[in-house]
């Protein structure tokens, strides 16, 4: 598959973000260089939640409209979401070791992210275990919806334990508490990661279209 202007733009935007984050954003006073991982970790988490949100939405719409395109969007978004969740789960411990003194803690958000990863890896495995296309679409839509319903329950059950995670610095009722330059880099990172998500989603969707076109008979196997 040839790179599209969108995917090139997305990669360029992410590179610009990294260059800005590494060379043109001040060091944080107490955390030092470790804090810079925020510019990967937070936007990746944002993209992961957005991706899984889209899986839930398209799953509901699929069961209602039975439109193949919706199933392909759900499939693509779940896979891209798992990739970004993996990035979150790798960058988090890298930061946690120097700052918290431990790679992993059973904090509410960490646990929730880990279980999201489990649910959507199972989603991908489920898709791979079904040959009939219509059945695969229905089953994965059911899992996509139940997965969305599960998120608040996992969050509540693990939140009743003490939470260690840094509090939100951007999306909170009062003004963002990050200094101007860092805030600009973080916002740029959110924008470029979102663009990368859209580019990957589109590329994965086109792959699904080509695959389905190559095996049209599958849909009638049952």
């Amino acid at each position: 598959m040839k790179p599209t202007p969108l995917s090139l733009a997305a990669v360029a935007a992410v590179l610009v973000t990294f260059v800005r984050a590494i060379f043109f954003t001040p060091l944080e006073a107490t955390q030092g260089p470790a804090q810079k991982i925020l510019y990967v970790h937070a936007p990746a988490a944002w993209v992961a939640f957005m991706a899984f949100g889209l899986v839930g939405l398209t799953s509901v719409l699929y069961l209602w409209l039975k439109e193949d395109r919706l199933d392909r969007v759900a499939e693509s978004s779940a896979e891209v979401g798992v990739v970004f969740t993996t990035v979150v789960l790798i960058t988090g411990p890298l930061w946690g070791k120097p700052i918290w003194g431990a790679y992993w803690t059973w904090d509410a958000r960490l646990t929730l992210t880990l279980f999201l990863w489990f649910v959507y890896v199972a989603y991908i495995v489920l898709r791979g275990a079904i040959d009939d296309r219509a059945m695969r679409a229905r089953y994965s839509a059911v899992l996509g919806i139940l997965g969305s319903l599960l998120i608040p329950f996992i969050h509540l059950s693990v939140y009743l334990f003490r939470t260690l995670h840094p509090q939100p610095i951007l999306m909170k009722p009062s003004a963002p508490s990050l200094p101007g330059e860092m805030l600009a880099t973080l916002l740029l990172a959110f924008a470029s990661f979102t663009l990368l998500y859209v580019a990957l989603l589109r590329a994965r969707y086109r792959y699904a279209v080509e695959r389905d076109d190559a095996h049209p008979a599958e849909a009638y196997d049952a």
Partner: protein
């Protein structure tokens, strides 16, 4: 509504009759549970971790896994002669099939619990005297949650290439918000705290039950051939 529940009861009775006459799944789940109790005891250093701290976790891990043994059977028993086609062709609502299967699984899990809880109390030396009633309530609430999700995923897993291998992968993440509150509430009760202390956990269990019984019952018809 009454008709849906009456049909569900008929299907549950059918499944329970099969299970009662063969007793294959029940005994394997029971032996599995007892083995689990023994293995867990030796997996921890009993001088470092007291039995009362260990017991709630042991109980809930055992129920989760032994329940899965029964739930997997629930739809695989219909596979060999395509019994599910007979059920689908019969004049009952699809929701009734799901509720009936889930009800039979609930009886199965509760029966395993009815033997496993006293066994844990016996082997780990726990005083159940004054907490058995609230404990039974927690066990029932948790069993409803486990069974609703487990039954739906069992219906899905039997039709996939991975079959029973897929069931734990699909259902275990969903069992987490059941097992955490159930084990925490059990721990509170066993350490002699009043039932009120476990209130938040019980509410969470109840909310899970309501949401997932409704969601899974509504989702089941979508897992069938149109």
């Amino acid at each position: 509504m009454v008709e849906v529940l009456r049909d569900a009861w008929l299907i549950a009775k059918k499944d329970l009759a099969i299970e009662f006459r063969t007793r294959s799944a029940f005994f394997s789940a029971l032996v599995f549970a007892l083995l689990g109790i023994v293995i867990f005891y030796f997996a921890w250093d009993s001088s470092a971790v007291s039995a009362i701290d260990l017991a709630p976790g042991v109980l809930w891990v055992i129920f989760t896994f032994s329940g899965m043994l029964g739930m997997h059977r629930s739809f695989s028993v219909e596979q060999p002669d395509r019994g599910i086609d007979g059920l689908l062709a019969s004049p009952v609502a699809r929701e009734s099939i799901f509720l009936g299967k889930a009800l039979a699984n609930l009886v199965f899990v509760v029966a395993v619990q009815a033997v496993a809880i006293p066994s844990v109390a016996l082997f780990y030396g726990l005083p159940l005297g004054n907490v058995w009633l609230p404990l039974a309530g927690i066990a029932l609430l948790a069993a409803i949650g486990l069974v609703s999700v487990g039954t739906l995923f069992s219906a899905m897993a039997v039709n996939t290439r991975l079959a029973e291998l897929l069931l734990p992968m699909l259902s275990l993440p969903f069992f987490v918000p059941v097992v955490i509150p159930a084990a925490q509430a059990t721990a509170k009760l066993m350490s002699g705290r009043p039932v009120g202390d476990a209130g938040a956990w019980l509410k969470l269990l109840l909310a899970f039950d309501i949401v997932f019984v409704v969601a899974c019952t509504l989702a089941y018809p979508f897992t069938l051939e149109e």
